[in-house]
Subunit: 236 residues, 2 copies
DNA sequence: AAGTGGTCTAGACCACGCG
DNA sequence: GCGTGGTCTAGACCACTTT
């Protein structure tokens, strides 16, 4: 039951300190030798722990210098607006257009809910992402109330739900499934995005899995891609 | 000057044998101890080599059994038609509508070409992907002639360019960048996909990076997502 | 020169799958 | 019981960055 692996303990110890901001982004964590001493172990074990943190995207290793805390990579493959996390940065502003509230599950959700989720009420909120003061993405989100309390509007960190999860609840996004469709805009969505009814927009249904058992975040996004395409990257 | 790392040699040795089919998919590669003996080294080094192959998606480890050769994961995040690599499998048939031929670079390519690519002529081909005999995706592809000879139509393995690259040339796809836009169908594209002009379709611009230096594959895809959405998944 | 991470050795014991 | 991969020890030397 208890994972008594030494490298796992080290890995979690450091991860928690990163999440809590004790090792802030951009700084270096203690050297491998220092960690060895602290945990009374050998470099092989410490390196295994750091390798895991590397895979999870918490640190980057720099030979001759140390292991640097990095911004966790873009919520793991979340499709991003072009430039959002790239070199040419557009200023993306997020507005909370519907504050988190308890409601029923919306049948529009494209993924099957778990038994536990079906039994639970859900929390819903809506955001609009703007670039240059023009709305580009309309985003609806749901999660199970049984898995996480209703988040307060003031808790959104820079409009980001994931940053809130990570920094306030120590929960990380572990993976995502997405479905993409090109559709004509409905009257309602068109109004929200400043478009005409029938204009081509991108509809994304997404399910994010988190490190907290039972907590999935479901999303329903409408994107105006005419000016800012949606982009994503992969590497191995 | 020791030219290369031991684990790297082992890694490449095994990778080549997998690519060549000496270790077919589904079989087990030699045990760690056997590899140790063969290369006169220790398990630490062998395990480092196997860890790399694991990351690259060539093998899966099974405790108590061995390391099994697996189907390389879905071209690394290539967006796939729903069900294509999932449980409910649609039969996707690929038709080569334009055979590979030497031509000029098309300005529609959404990514900047490298200096070497600009100097080179390029190879172009076009395919249509059908489900239930109905066209769903129209796909244009380009690559630099200087980086790879003109591939023969008969060399396409199950309509797949990537399988051809892997099995015939031992080249693997290492990563991809994509841009997605929702657009109204042009007359030409509409005709190819059996749609009306102006219908909403998904336009994907993609650049695949390969393990062969200088070889990138550029793609320009038009997808009818009304019936079969495009899907992708991530995990960490 | 000192400190960091990268590679490697030569062992050990454990957990798991299977006959 | 045996072979497999998983974890771990206690060292060594190298390549790289900084002082």
């Amino acid at each position: 039951m208890k994972s008594s692996k030494k490298y796992y303990k080290i890995q979690n110890f450091i991860k928690k300190r990163i999440q809590k901001g004790i090792y802030p982004v951009g700084t270096y964590i203690p050297s491998e030798n220092e960690i060895c001493e602290q945990f009374q172990t050998t470099r092989t074990t410490v390196r295994k722990a750091l390798d895991e943190l590397l895979k999870e995207g918490f640190i980057a290793k720099e030979q001759g210098k140390g292991s640097k805390v990095i911004e966790r990579r873009k919520s793991l493959g979340l499709l991003t607006v072009k430039g959002f996390s790239g070199a040419i940065d557009y200023a993306v502003e997020t507005t909370l257009t519907e504050k988190p509230k308890i409601t029923q599950w919306d049948p529009i959700i494209a993924f099957p809910l778990t038994k536990e989720e079906k039994k639970s009420k859900c929390v819903y909120f809506q955001r609009v992402r703007c670039i240059n003061n023009r709305p580009v993405v309309l985003e609806n989100n749901w999660y199970a109330l049984d898995a996480l309390e209703v988040i307060k509007p003031s808790d959104f960190i820079e409009g980001s739900f994931f940053k809130t999860l990570s920094q306030k609840y120590l929960i990380e996004v572990m993976g995502a499934d997405q479905e993409l469709r090109s559709i004509p805009a409905s009257k309602k969505v068109a109004k929200n995005l400043g478009l005409k009814e029938g204009d081509s927009i991108l509809h994304i249904s997404v399910r994010f899995q988190t490190s907290k058992p039972g907590l999935n975040l479901y999303g329903d996004l409408y994107c105006n891609t005419s000016e800012y395409p949606i982009r994503n990257s992969y590497y191995s």
